[in-house]
Assembly symmetry: C2
Homo-oligomer: 158 residues x 2
DNA sequence: TATTGTTATACTCTATAACTATA
DNA sequence: TATAGTTATAGAGTATAACAATA
């Protein structure tokens, strides 16, 4: 097959030699796929990953303050405000005033929030089961463990 | 320790019961840490993750077209245009015209691009070595393998 | 008709600085 | 002074639709 010297790359086989050792990029690509599927999964509940995560953490940790929630979610307090605003406006959570320290809000899930979350959690569990169905269970468990330990390790260094 | 009934959560021990099974969130948190560190690593070269990745792929795959590159990077063609614009403007790559198909550009790295990339790759390798220094080598290899297989699995399904 | 590269646009997430009210 | 929540803003990444040139 003689071709002209200058043509565009014609095969679909890419050389990922340099990129394959780039863990960050593997993480990004994998996460992008998960994220895209998750967006669709949460759409019926009018939730995004951040609002879903916030709701989960507030339910599992009653009376959480916004600063604590932001830390737990690894985002800035400033960016959490609009998320909490949205959940409060939709009456999925409440901002309770704390008598002993009037600077703080104690966040709590409402009944409506609890009901919505229950359905959303089920949907997310199904979404992940489907997404990782091709992955052996021990690989998935190991993945969670590795990522979790990595996160713990990094944040401890600060 | 008797406390008033309504106070904000006082301990730093969080209940991650629901979240811990949420692989997508583990991926996101881990990736965010990597990304934040990578931004600093690439800053001296005036590169971002996307421009760095594009440069790597173009060097390792001469005569790549923009559509092929976008596919390899898992981004939309439309979003690649500004990335290629930037690299071309900085004379790190060239858009070569393909005589046999005038719709296509054949992307190639310039000498300057090659020189910059060599330093950048070294910096990224160091950055990852440092970042994952607390992780056993086989965990890191397994992580790359799992993420890579996951990606291959998902994209094959389309 | 289909494909490549392109423009425009909207939305989301992230990061920073500065403000207020409370402690 | 320091902290909790807030506002404003800028930068970056992502997704979609529509267009011109070319096949």
């Amino acid at each position: 097959m003689n071709k002209p010297a200058k043509t565009a790359k014609e095969t679909d086989e890419f050389n990922y030699e340099t990129l394959d050792r780039f863990v960050g990029y593997q993480m990004k690509r994998a996460f992008n796929l998960v994220q895209a599927d998750l967006v669709e999964t949460l759409k019926p509940f009018d939730l995004r990953m951040l609002t879903y995560t916030a709701l989960v953490l507030i339910e599992d940790n009653p009376d959480l303050s916004q600063t604590q929630l932001a830390n737990a979610m690894d985002i800035e307090r400033a960016n959490l405000v609009v998320i909490v605003d949205e959940l409060e406006m939709r009456e999925l959570i409440v901002r309770d005033r704390v008598p002993t320290d009037r600077r703080i809000y104690a966040l709590n899930v409402t009944l409506a929030g609890r009901r919505l979350l229950k359905k959303a959690v089920n949907a997310v569990v199904s979404h992940e089961a489907r997404l990782f169905s091709g992955m052996p269970k021990n690989s998935r468990d190991q993945l969670i463990k590795t990522l979790s330990e990595f996160h713990a390790n990094q944040t401890r260094k600060l």
